[in-house]
Assembly symmetry: C2
Homo-oligomer: 686 residues x 2
C-alpha cells in the first residue's frame, strides 16, 4: 500500500525535549539592521497617538489629519535625513528610508503622503535638479511651506512613463517652456497632493526644443495660488475615495499651454541654454531616460521595506492570538486546543513567518545597495543598474507577500480579524496599491527578466548558437553530477520507504541553494533559447513570440527574486553567534527554502531535479520536523520584531484573549470540581 501513500505513516523519531532559546533582544537589533537607530527613532514617534490612524473620520477629515501630521513630522525632524547638510539635512539616504518605512506602523497614509512630499516631489528636485533648484525650492519643500505633487503618471500611461503625452515645448521668443496636455489620456492622474494640498509640482513631460523631442524631462511648476485656487491654464479633479490610503488627496492635473521660465527645467541630466540649445551629459536618450527614472528607485526600495514592516506586524498579531486562542477539543478530554497547535494553522502562519524573515534580510541588502549608490560610496553605473534590478526584483515579491500575509493573518483570527481595531483589514486595504504603484509588479518583473536575459546573452555576445546550446546542456550536466539530476529512476528505487534518508540530501543549505539557483539558470537559458529566433522575425512576429513567453519571463524573474531572498537569509545566518538563535533561524531558513521548492515542485519533477520520493520527503520534512520544531519558537520569533504595545495596538494581541480563555476554563474547572456541572443528555439514557 505504501507505494501510493502520500506520506509515510511511520512516526518520526522524537525531537530533543529541550527546545532552544532565542536571544530575542539581540535578534531584534540584528533584524533592525544597519540603520537601527533611525528605525528606533521613527518607531518612538509612531508610538505617539497623534501620528496614528483614527477610525471613523470622513474623507475630508482623514486628509486634513494626515496633512497636519506632516507638519508634526517636520517639527519632529523626522523627514530631513536625506537632504543636503547645507540645507539642514543629514545626507543620510539609508537612514532616511529606514525611518520612513517604520511610519507604516502608525498609518500607511502618513507614510505615503510624506513619501509624496519628500520622497517624490522633494527627491525629484534634489536628484533631477541642480544647486540653483536646491537652494530655491528645497527649503520650502522641507518645511512643508510648499506642499507638492509628483506629476509623472498619466491616465493613459500608467507604468509606461516613456510614452507620456504631456509636452514641454521651448519657446525661444520668451525663453520659456510651454507645458501642455494634448488630450484627455495625458492628464496627470493618481497624484498625491494634487486634489487639495499641492501648491506646486514637478511635472514630467516630453521636452521639445526646436522641433526635436528629447524625451521625458522634469520641470518645477507652481499650480495653486495662496487661496488654493488653480493658477491660470491649470485644471484638475479629485480622484475621490480609494480602496485605501484615504488620508491622501490623490487627484488629476492638466495644463493648457502653461508657461514656466527656462530655469524651471530640472537640468541635472539635460539642459537648454540661453541660446535654446539642448545639451546633456548622457548622449543616449534611452540611457538618459533610465538614469533620470533611476533616481526615483527609492520609492521601490521603501515599499519593499514598508511591506516587510507590515508583514511583521500582521504576524506578531496573528501568532500572539494563535498562541492564546483555544478552539475545539482535540486530544484533551476537557481543555480546548490552542489553535497554533493545529497542523493547518502552523502551515498557514509559520511559512509566512519564514518568508517575512527572508524579506527582512533581503531588504537590508537592498537598502545597503541603495545607500551605497546615493551616498556615492558605491555608485558606478554597474552599481546603479544592480540596485535598480534588485529593487525591481524584490518590490513585487514583498508587496504581494504582504497582502498574502495580511489576508492569511486576518483569516487566521476569524471574525476578530475583521474588526478594524485589530489592524489587518486597514493595513491590507492601504497596502493593496503597493503592488501596482511605483512600477506595476508585473512590469517590474519583466525588467528583471530582461536584465537576466541580457546578462545571459553577454556571456555569448561573440558566440554562435552552438556555443549557447552547449552552455545550456552544460548546466544540465552540472546538475546531474550534483545529485539532483535526471537520475529519477534510480532515485525512485533508492529513496523508497525512508523519509529521513531521502530528505537528507535536500535539506542542506547547499542543496537548497543548488535547487533554487539551478531553476533560475535553467529558466533563463530556456527563455533565451525560445526567444533567440526573435531577431530574425518581423517586429509583429517577434512581439508575438515574446508574448507567448511573457508569462514564463515573469515566472523566471520571480524565481530570481526568491533566490535573492533565500541568499540574504542564508548570509544573515553567518552573522549570528548565539548557538540557539542560529539553530532556530537555520530551521526557519530551511522552512523558507523548502517551502519555495515545494511551491515549484512540478518544475523540479518535470526537469528531473527531484525524484518523486524526494519531492514527497520535502513535504514530510516540513510537516513532521520543521513546523513542530518552530511551533514553540513562534512567539519569540515575533517578539524579536520588537514592536511595543503602542505600535501593535490590536486588542486581540494584547493578552485579552488569554484572560478570556483562562476565565472560561476556570469556570468549567470549578463547575466540575463542585459537582454542579449539568450532565450531558446521553449519560442518563444509557
Amino acid at each position: 500500500m505504501t507505494q501510493i501513500a502520500d506520506r509515510p505513516t511511520t512516526t518520526p523519531a522524537p525531537e530533543p525535549s529541550v527546545s532552544p532559546s532565542i536571544d530575542t533582544a539581540w535578534l531584534g537589533e540584528y533584524l533592525l539592521g544597519q540603520w537601527a537607530e533611525a528605525r528606533h527613532t521613527s518607531r518612538a514617534l509612531m508610538a505617539l497617538p497623534e501620528f496614528q490612524r483614527q477610525e471613523g473620520l470622513s474623507l475630508a477629515e482623514q486628509r486634513q489629519r494626515v496633512f497636519g501630521q506632516l507638519a508634526l513630522l517636520v517639527e519632529s525632524k523626522g523627514v530631513h535625513r536625506a537632504f543636503p547638510k547645507s540645507l539642514g539635512g543629514n545626507e543620510d539616504h539609508g537612514g532616511n528610508i529606514a525611518a520612513f518605512e517604520e511610519i507604516v506602523t502608525a498609518d500607511p497614509s502618513l507614510q505615503i503622503k510624506s513619501g509624496v512630499q519628500w520622497g517624490l516631489f522633494g527627491a525629484a528636485v534634489l536628484h533631477l535638479g541642480t544647486e540653483k533648484h536646491h537652494n530655491k525650492f528645497l527649503p520650502g519643500i522641507m518645511s512643508l511651506e510648499v506642499p507638492g505633487a509628483f506629476a509623472m503618471t498619466e491616465t493613459g500611461h500608467g507604468s509606461d512613463v516613456a510614452a507620456i503625452g504631456t509636452t514641454a515645448t521651448y519657446d525661444e521668443k520668451t525663453d520659456e517652456f510651454v507645458i501642455n496636455t494634448p488630450f484627455r489620456a495625458a492628464w496627470k492622474d493618481y497624484l498625491g497632493n494634487a486634489a487639495i494640498h499641492g501648491v506646486a509640482c514637478v511635472v514630467f513631460a516630453q521636452l521639445i526644443v526646436a522641433g526635436v523631442n528629447h524625451g521625458v524631462h522634469a520641470l518645477y511648476l507652481p499650480i495653486r495660488n495662496d487661496k488654493g485656487e488653480f493658477l491660470p491654464g491649470i485644471g484638475g479633479e479629485d480622484d475621490g475615495p480609494k480602496g485605501g490610503l484615504n488620508g491622501i488627496d490623490n487627484g488629476r492635473l492638466h495644463f493648457d499651454h502653461v508657461r514656466v521660465p527656462r530655469e524651471n527645467l530640472l537640468n541635472r541630466y539635460g539642459d537648454v541654454d540661453e541660446n535654446g540649445v539642448y545639451t546633456s551629459s548622457i548622449a543616449s536618450p534611452g540611457r538618459r531616460f533610465f538614469t533620470m527614472i533611476g533616481t526615483l528607485v527609492q520609492g521601490r526600495v521603501s515599499l519593499d521595506g514598508a511591506s516587510t514592516v507590515a508583514s511583521k506586524l500582521a504576524l506578531d498579531i496573528a501568532i500572539t492570538y494563535g498562541s492564546q486562542r483555544r478552539q475545539f477539543v482535540a486530544g484533551s478530554p476537557t481543555d480546548e486546543e490552542v489553535i497554533l497547535d493545529y497542523g493547518r494553522h502552523q502551515r498557514r502562519l509559520l511559512p509566512r513567518l519564514a518568508q517575512t524573515y527572508a524579506m527582512s534580510f533581503a531588504h537590508e541588502k537592498l537598502l545597503t545597495a541603495f545607500d551605497g549608490v546615493f551616498s556615492g560610496k558605491r555608485a558606478t553605473d554597474a552599481d546603479r543598474e544592480d540596485l535598480e534590478t534588485l529593487a525591481a526584483a524584490l518590490k513585487p515579491l514583498s508587496t504581494w507577500n504582504a497582502l498574502d500575509i495580511l489576508q492569511e493573518a486576518r483569516e487566521a483570527c476569524g471574525g476578530a480579524g475583521f474588526l478594524a481595531e485589530n489592524r489587518f483589514t486597514q493595513l491590507r486595504a492601504d497596502l493593496d496599491i503597493y503592488t501596482t504603484f511605483e512600477g506595476d509588479n508585473n512590469v517590474l518583473l519583466q525588467l528583471v527578466a530582461k536584465r537576466l536575459l541580457t546578462d545571459y546573452a553577454r556571456k555569448f555576445s561573440k558566440a554562435d548558437a552552438g556555443t549557447m546550446a552547449g552552455y545550456v546542456a552544460g548546466q544540465v550536466n552540472e546538475a546531474v553530477v550534483n545529485n539532483f539530476g535526471l537520475r529519477r529512476l534510480a532515485q525512485n528505487v533508492k529513496d523508497f520507504g525512508s523519509t529521513s534518508r531521502s530528505v537528507g540530501n535536500v535539506q542542506s543549505a547547499a542543496a537548497q541553494r543548488q535547487l533554487l539557483t539551478d531553476r533560475v539558470h535553467t529558466m533563463v537559458a530556456t527563455l533565451a533559447a525560445n526567444l533567440r529566433p526573435a531577431s530574425k522575425l518581423s517586429p509583429a512576429d517577434a512581439a508575438a513570440l515574446f508574448n507567448r513567453n511573457q508569462n514564463e519571463l515573469i515566472e523566471a524573474a520571480k524565481a530570481h527574486g526568491e533566490l535573492l531572498q533565500w541568499e540574504a537569509f542564508t548570509d544573515a545566518l553567518a552573522g549570528i553567534d548565539d548557538a540557539d538563535t542560529k539553530k532556530v533561524l537555520t530551521w526557519l531558513r530551511d522552512l523558507f527554502g523548502l517551502t519555495l521548492i515545494e511551491k515549484n515542485l512540478a518544475w523540479y519533477l518535470i526537469h528531473g531535479r527531484l525524484s518523486s520520493g524526494r519531492a514527497q520527503a520535502i513535504t514530510r520534512y516540513i510537516d513532521d520536523r520543521l513546523l513542530p520544531r518552530l511551533r514553540p519558537q513562534a512567539l519569540d520569533l515575533v517578539k524579536a520584531f520588537g514592536f511595543t504595545p503602542e505600535l501593535v495596538r490590536a486588542p486581540i494581541a494584547s493578552g485579552a484573549e488569554k484572560i478570556r480563555q483562562d476565565e472560561a476554563r476556570e469556570y468549567y474547572r470549578e463547575q466540575r470540581a463542585s459537582g454542579a456541572a449539568p450532565v450531558l443528555e446521553k449519560k442518563p439514557r444509557r
Copy 2:
C-alpha cells in the same frame, strides 16, 4: 537543446481564421438558471440608486442608510419569497436565495443585513420554531417591525457552535427559561443588528433541564424596548468599524439571568412540556444538533452564489477595460497594444473567467439541491446530508476565489482599479469576511473531508485492512490501464518532441475527469490508510495523528470541491444546443480543467499520473491554444453575465477608456499626417 526546453519553440498550427460566435442572449439566460425570473426581478431593483452603496458616508450614516434600504426591500416585496404562503410569502426557497444573491451588485452590506433579518433571524424562527412561533413572530420580522439579531456566535467559540457557553436553564417554579452568560468568552459577538437596530434576537444556548444539558437550542428573546434601550439583564457593545460591510451594525450581547416564557423555546426539534419534561423527535443529541444547525445551510448556499455574482462583476469590469486599454508598443510601430492581447494579461484573467463559469454552474446545482430539501421535494436524510456536504465544499472555494478574482481584476486595472468608483476594492473589502463567517472555510473543508472518509470507510465496514489495501491498489491499476498510470518512462520517450500529439490524450473531457477524480480518490484512500491506526491510539496520540494529516485532509476536500465544479461545468455543456456557443464553452471548460490539473501538477507527477512531457504539454496547450482561442471570446463571455450599466457602474468599464485611447491615437495620427510631429532626438544625430 530541446531536452531541457520548457516549451517547444515550434509555432503551433494556425487556428481557423473565423472565430465562433456565442449566442450571448441565450447563454445569459442559461447562466441565470432555474430561478432566472427571481434574479431578473432582483437585478431590476438593484439597478435603482436607492439600493446602492454611497461613498463618503460616516459609519452611522452607512448603517442608517442600509437599515432604510431594508424597509424599501419590504415595500418592493423583494424578501418574502421563502416565508409561508399563509403569512404572505411564496414558499419559494430557491427563488428567495437567487434573488438575495443578486443584491451583492448593489451593496454587500445590504445583502448581508437583509440576510441577518430574514435569512438568519427570520429563518431560525421559521425552521427551528413551530406554527405558534410563525404566527406570533414572523409577521413582525417580515415587515421589519421587529429587526432582530441571530445570536449564535460567541467571542470565545467562533465556528465551534456546539461548545458555546451561554445557558438556558429551565426554572420549573416559574415555567421560564433563564438565559445567562457565565463568562466574557460566552458573550455573543459579531451579530448584525445587535449594536443598534435589533429589538429581539434568536439566542442559541445550552438547554439545561433538571440538571441535564440537552445541547444547543434556540430561543426567541426581546432585547430592546421602544426607546432602543436594552431590557433589564441584557447588555452589549458595538463591534465598531470593520474591514467591510460597514452598513451593518455588528455588536455583542450578554445576558444576566434573563427570563423568557417556556413557549419562547423554538421547539421544532426539542421541547420542554408544562411538566418540565424534555422531549425530542431526534434521539441522538449529536444528530439533533446537526439537524438544527443544518436548517441554516442557506447562509452558505447564498454566500456561494453571491461570491459568484461578485466574481462575474469584477471580470466584466476588468475584461471590458482590458479590451480597450492600450499600453506599451509591442508589434506595431505606431499603436500601443491592447492589454488583453498580452500573454500575461490573458493568463491573469481568462482562467479566472473559466473558474467563474464553473462556480456559476456548480452553484446552480447547489441551489437546486437546497430547493429540493427545503421545498420537501427531495428531503430525505441523505438529501440533507448531501446538501450540507455540497455547501461545505463549494462555499470555501467560491468565497476564496472571489477574493482572488477581485484582487487580480483590481491589479489588472492598475491605479484605476484602486479608485473606489471602479468597485473592486469595496467589493473585496466586503467579501473578505465571507471566507470565515457562516462557517470558517478551513473548518467547513474538514467537515467535507470527514464525510469523504466516512463514505470511503462505509465501503469497507466489514472489510479488513487487506481488502482496503487491495482496493487502493486497484485504483492505481485502473489508472494505469487508462493511460495515465505509472508508465512514466515509456511516456517520456513516446511524448518527446510533439506537443500536439502528447496533449491529445489529456485534453479530452474523459481524461480531465479521470485525472481530477483519481486525485480525489487517491488522496482520500491515502488519508484513510494514514488515519487507520487512530482507533488503536490514545485520544492524545490519535489527535496528534489527525493533526499531522490535517493539512492534507483540507487539500483533499478542496480537490473534491474542484471536481464538483468541473463536473457541473461539464454537465452544463450538455444543455447547450448552439454549436458555436457549445464550442467556446467547451474551450472554457477545458481551460478550467487543465488549469486545475496544472495547479496540482506536482501531485500528478509524483503519483505517476502524468509524464513530464504531458505535464509540459498541458501548459503549452493552455498558452498556445486555449488562451488565444478564448481571447476573442472574452468580451462576449462577460457580456453573457447580463449586467446592465446600472449594475456595473464602474466608469472604467463604461467605454470612457476607449474614447480616451481613440482620441490619443487620432491626435498622433494627425500629427504624423501633418508632418508637425517633433522628430526623436536620435534621428538628427545620425
